[in-house]
Subunit: 248 residues, 2 copies
């Protein structure tokens, strides 16, 4: 059995940059000259998205085929050497993976090292045990929030610090993650834009800036972070208090 | 049958203000001297939240009891003259309402005018047909996204314009609502912070600034907006394209 190989990006595009260019070397390392199968289902316009991803990765010499152009997209996904799960809306992407019936088998292929997995944004969210730390709007209702579970902790993408000058009264990202921890006992790795997590076998290392949240508190890491120890976690979901019906 | 009376606030607290104070007159009009039953389940600390809400409304002379202090909270909710659904996490609030089994009966009581309904933030989200336009993190999984359906359109709270100076690459609020419209054919009323929707029988009027989104485009209203016509809409949910399995 080969080692699991994951490249989980916070975001597809850095401000002022072109798609995937900030992570070009990491893409080259993971794809290792092999063709990449792209999954465009997190956005509505699959053709346009697949063309843009193919052009972006083509600029680094990486060949791309899109699963949606196959007569059997589930087979294209399950037979991929390297799978790239594109970003967009996480609820729509997970619902699409359930519609194709690939969740369990794709997870096994990746964990067994048969398929290398690259995700960006929504594509990173669905690599987690659940999509419960997505920032996306719940525009549709997948049958479950359970996702691929390639790592046993949650990741929050596009992580952003509170703006001290803001007059906005909605929750900050940190407050939202604290609410997640009230309901679930599972560490959350916040990846600032431009950062990614690289997993190779038993090693899991962040490139760039990150923030790790757990019930005991959180800590910011500026220079990368080895989170290999988190690969042995057992997350616990649910457990928040709910009102109970009385004797009415 | 009495007229339906709703007060649906974008946010509980304006920047620099105290809780509910920006809408004190509207609270007084809807509660009309009657006791308000508060629902604290969108936050984790029910006692603290209920005490803060009671103090805030008490300052305008409004008496508050909290449903969570009743031996039969579902009965307290269903027998309320005026119900105030507090803000917090929308997924947790809806899950709590399902746990209490009150969704259908509460909706009927409010639509028949037996219970006047006040919501803020998450409490406004659950007044919509679904919670599909919430900004909140899906920290838990309610059995359905279907909510009270007191109005036949969606509302987006804490609505905020894109910041032209931002370098953040995550979706803007407008982009998220556009994704909602790709999957659902249902108008979305964006309420900027400080705004609210007041429904009284066949009249539905926004106080403050709002933005109305539909598939044909969107428009910003600066000075209030009469949306009574929207009360006759028939929303259509789902319908976005999904990949289909091939002949594999």
């Amino acid at each position: 059995m080969a080692a699991m190989e994951l490249l989980l990006l916070s975001n597809s595009t850095n401000y002022g940059g072109s798609m995937f260019s900030h992570a070009a070397e990491a893409f080259a390392e993971v794809s290792a000259g092999d063709r990449v199968t792209f999954v465009p289902y997190a956005l509505a316009d699959w053709d346009d998205y697949a063309d843009r991803a193919a052009a972006a990765l083509g600029a680094f010499g990486i060949e791309v085929v899109s699963a949606h152009r196959s007569g059997a997209p589930e087979r294209a996904i399950l037979e991929a050497d390297v799978l790239m799960m594109g970003g967009g809306n996480t609820f729509r992407l997970l619902d699409s993976l359930y519609a194709l019936g690939v969740i369990g088998r794709l997870s096994r292929h990746v964990r067994e090292g048969a398929t290398r997995y690259v995700g960006a944004s929504a594509g990173t969210n669905v690599a987690c045990p659940t999509i419960r730390t997505t920032n996306d709007m719940p525009i549709c209702h997948p049958p479950s929030f359970a996702a691929l579970g390639l790592v046993p902790f949650q990741i929050n993408l596009h992580y952003i610090d509170p703006d001290p000058a803001s007059t906005f009264m909605g929750e900050t990202r940190e407050e939202r993650i604290d609410e997640f921890l009230e309901e679930n006992d599972c560490q959350v790795l916040g990846l600032y834009e431009g950062s990614w997590l690289r997993v190779s076998g038993a090693s899991a290392v962040v490139a760039g800036r990150s923030r790790l949240f757990q019930r005991a508190g959180c800590h910011t890491y500026h220079e990368g972070l080895d989170v290999s120890g988190l690969l042995h976690l057992t997350p616990a979901f649910d457990g928040g208090r709910r009102p109970v019906r009385g004797e009415s």
